[in-house]
Symmetry: C2
Subunit: 547 residues, 2 copies
């Protein structure tokens, strides 16, 4: 790519250099000129049906590639992705929100231009609440440095950022003398050394050290470092809900998912009885903590995230998670001997479908466990798709995506668009409730348009199954769509109705061999058939609703 001279071209060049080769969005007149520039660039512009779908797709893309982007028009596009951007903020996904806007020359005397809300900066103010950095590129002399500054923040904090480009700035030249300074983000060497010394001492003295790994291992691309640390020290690894698949769940040191009462009971006991809990990139969210049923004692903990490091009851500043992990790897931690790991339930190695037997959540996920392989990436929506999904044993690393903290329904189908675009070698296995599917499932249209082939499993239990045990009412029902008919509407794809175990078997087999387009399985479940994990969680959450 030639060195860009216009503001729009520079933004595209920098995105491409950072690995953003696809941008998701919906056009609109205030962003058309930038869309045209994108179309003519090496970046592919992927048009979704609605902006919400683009926002979720970009979030999934960012989780897998380290940076993603969504490109929309002013207000009527931008404000539609307030929620998806909020999710990216909460779950540390570095999404660049690019919004076109009225030209600087159109704003004189504050006219009532279409798409304007209160003032020309209303959208900007909204996104200041939802992003870690934001800018309006209305000054050619600073536009290049603004772009770099905002992208640096996205990469450093792994949070969304906002870039607004007035349409008369797209082709305007930036500062021709601008030179990008590489910003180096480093730990304070002395602080780091002291923290490492202290941590190593504690670990070497411990009888039962354990690593608990969470979301930041995914976000900062530290899966290799985690693996090396584990194998070198032989310390067992548990993962959180949000961190699921941070290590292969078939690895011998993997000891299960920890989430208080929500997770595996044996894992829970092992983690909570540890005398040295090494928490790497862990966020103590309510879902990670099994609705606060977890009991982690800070006095026996080492916790390092990009935001804060604490050992026992004191804290350190200026330590990067990467550097801390490298420090542990480089230190003389004595390998653990004769581990007695909890003997938790491994997945069954065979599944014999019972003909005409109605399918249940438990049996569905038993079967899905055997269906998984290295190419499948599981994308679980909120609800039992996620909670039952926690029992899946995922093969690869970062092969399980879910909005397991912010928990916005409707993530999974558009996220599969983003995920498969980010990792063309994978095939998404989408787990989605019927309520969530009705929010964003029509992005199957975009999936069809761009020739992708996820397998979408709709957990059809007639409504919001997670809420029924908390407080039920007609508001938890949804209209029973005939999900398997989706290909009739879109003119592409394959649909299956699954009522029984043998129908599931057939549908999975045919989906596996049908790779030309998406497949959708309408899995008909009893309304009150929920996973064991969900039952435990909703008991906790229900008490809060009814408090």
């Amino acid at each position: 790519m030639e060195t860009a001279t216009s503001i729009g071209a520079y933004l595209i060049q920098r995105l491409y250099e950072e690995g953003v080769h696809h941008v998701f969005g919906v056009p609109g007149d205030f962003v058309l000129k930038f869309d045209k520039l994108l179309e003519e660039s090496p970046i592919e512009l992927i048009n979704t049906c609605d902006e919400q779908g683009a926002g979720f797709a970009a979030d999934a893309y960012a989780r897998l590639r380290g940076l993603g982007a969504v490109c929309v028009t002013y207000s009527v596009g931008g404000l539609k992705i307030a929620n998806t951007t909020a999710q990216a903020f909460a779950e540390k996904s570095p999404v660049v929100v690019i919004s076109g806007s009225p030209g600087t020359q159109e704003r004189h005397k504050n006219p009532l231009l279409h798409h304007k809300v209160r003032d020309f900066d209303t959208q900007y103010k909204v996104f200041q609440e939802l992003t870690i950095a934001s800018t309006i590129l209305d000054d050619p002399s600073t536009a290049f440095s603004e772009i770099d500054c905002v992208l640096t923040a996205a990469l450093r904090y792994k949070r969304p950022v906002y870039i607004e480009i007035p349409r008369d700035m797209v082709n305007t030249p930036g500062n021709p003398h601008y030179f990008r300074k590489q910003q180096v983000d480093e730990s304070n060497a002395e602080t780091l050394a002291e923290a490492i010394r202290e941590a190593v001492t504690l670990i070497n003295a411990a009888k039962q050290p354990i690593i608990l790994a969470d979301v930041e291992i995914h976000r900062f691309g530290l899966q290799d470092a985690l693996l090396q640390l584990t194998e070198q020290t032989n310390i067992p690894v548990a993962e959180t809900v949000l961190g699921k698949s941070v290590i292969s769940e078939h690895h011998p040191n993997y000891i299960g998912l920890y989430a208080g009462a929500l997770g595996n009971e044996l894992t829970c006991r092992y983690v909570e009885s540890s005398d040295c809990l090494i928490m790497l990139g862990v966020f103590l969210t309510d879902i990670n903590l099994g609705s606060f049923t977890a009991h982690l004692d800070p006095k026996h903990s080492i916790s390092v995230t990009s935001e804060r490091t604490s050992i026992q009851l004191h804290t350190y500043e200026d330590i990067r998670l990467q550097d801390f992990m490298d420090g542990l790897i480089g230190a003389a931690i004595k390998p653990q001997q004769d581990l007695k790991l909890p003997n938790y339930r491994k997945p069954a190695t065979s599944f014999i479908p019972v003909t005409h037997h109605p399918i249940t959540i438990a049996r569905l996920f038993e079967r899905l466990n055997l269906f998984l392989d290295h190419n499948l990436i599981v994308i679980a929506d909120v609800g039992d798709a996620l909670f039952a999904g926690l029992d899946l044993f995922v093969h690869g690393r970062s092969r399980f995506l879910s909005p397991a903290y912010y928990a916005s329904l409707g993530f999974a189908v558009p996220a599969s668009l983003g995920a498969q675009t980010a990792s063309p070698g994978t095939r998404p296995l989408v787990l989605v409730g019927d309520g969530a599917f009705q929010m964003t499932g029509m992005e199957l249209s975009t999936i069809a348009r761009y020739g992708l082939n996820p397998i979408v499993v709709v957990l059809n239990n007639g409504g919001y199954g997670t809420e029924r045990p908390m407080l039920d009412g007609r508001f938890n029902d949804v209209l029973p769509w005939r999900y398997s008919q989706m290909p009739k509407l879109l003119g592409v794809g394959r649909g299956f109705d699954v009522w029984t175990e043998d129908e599931l078997e057939t549908a999975l087999r045919e989906s596996h061999s049908h790779s030309a387009s998406f497949c959708i399985l309408d899995v008909h479940l009893e309304a009150n058939d929920t996973s064991v994990a969900l039952k435990r969680l909703t008991e906790g959450l229900g008490q809060r609703v009814n408090a």
Copy 2:
């Protein structure tokens, strides 16, 4: 209804008293308790597929009933309706946004609860930008007065408001000694008298006075006052795009739609040559002004809105639009004699379908004009649905809804849900482009669930037809859905494919007699077949894109 004692019950009681008998929303754990209270109240809770649909439905309901409400959960629900609330703000639709939120007792020590973005007040801050008044009901001693204060603002300014109710406050008693003071909003009597005197003098001295009526006539329910003023003075009336159907378009004093180059040419000439232009509730938006091709001379104008009154080049404060119109009605304005109104094109009185002749936009709307009656309410989405729709002659008053300023695509289908709920005697005729339908058309599910029966006309031209003339690219294409197959997916409704004039005839006739459920007409148009109005407008807008 008994006098409410709890905060949640009081909110419901006050909404009901103000005419809100239906609330649109999606449940979620932070709002479940309030949803349950709604379910047990005389207000009907209508569940949409996605929150966006609920937001648009509530907007349409508010436009027709004077107040509407949408009820969602915290962040994952609330932030999804940032855009629909922005539209309600821009177009003066009084929507009450009700959001559940974490209980006040759950917020100690700022835990990472699910759905939280940055801080517990992130959503509140966002909605402060998008509403005219907002509150969090976290104090039982002030909650009742806060509710009244915020609802009063919605009714007075006809803008959206935000009410957040922490879930542990829903059943908490409010102040038992609270007594609601009726707030009276009055004009300053002396200022009003002076303004009326001056206006009457100008009108009586004018040779060609004309009334231009806009959106606030709809919003403040002043259609009767407008009719009385017109008939008493015999002054002709033109309407704006956003004000369309403010008076019956078959009324003898109605002289057409004024919107600069976008509107009727004869109307434009008549309005712009007037020596006394009486603008009632008019907002000078770019679309109302035909992309600023309008030429209105303030020196010959009287303009009154709820926000500002100006006569010629000076302004008055503290005058209510209602009072000003009543003042004119009560004054001795001499009736106009021997009007020479422009002889603009009236709708054809017959339509003879040409068998096998491909349907065009022009012929479609010619036919639709004959299809209209007093029961049909036209709901036009953004794009040629709106621009071609401007040529429809609407029978009743406030029988044409469209987001003609903020212009958010995807309004029409969910708006028809809100409109038919608000006015059960009507049947919506929805005009929607294929691009807009792909955003929110699945709310046909909600329409089916609640037994409504709009007739949905999809203008299927393969993409964003409004943008192609501005700047074309693959980004303006959409996947060709088979819209007529929608009933197969939903299990209800009737679908029609319309390629020719005779197929249109059949589809309209059958839709008319099929009132049991929705009907959807997939009207296949050439990609470059646009209305005359759109051609004129996009020439103007295209120059701005390419400036």
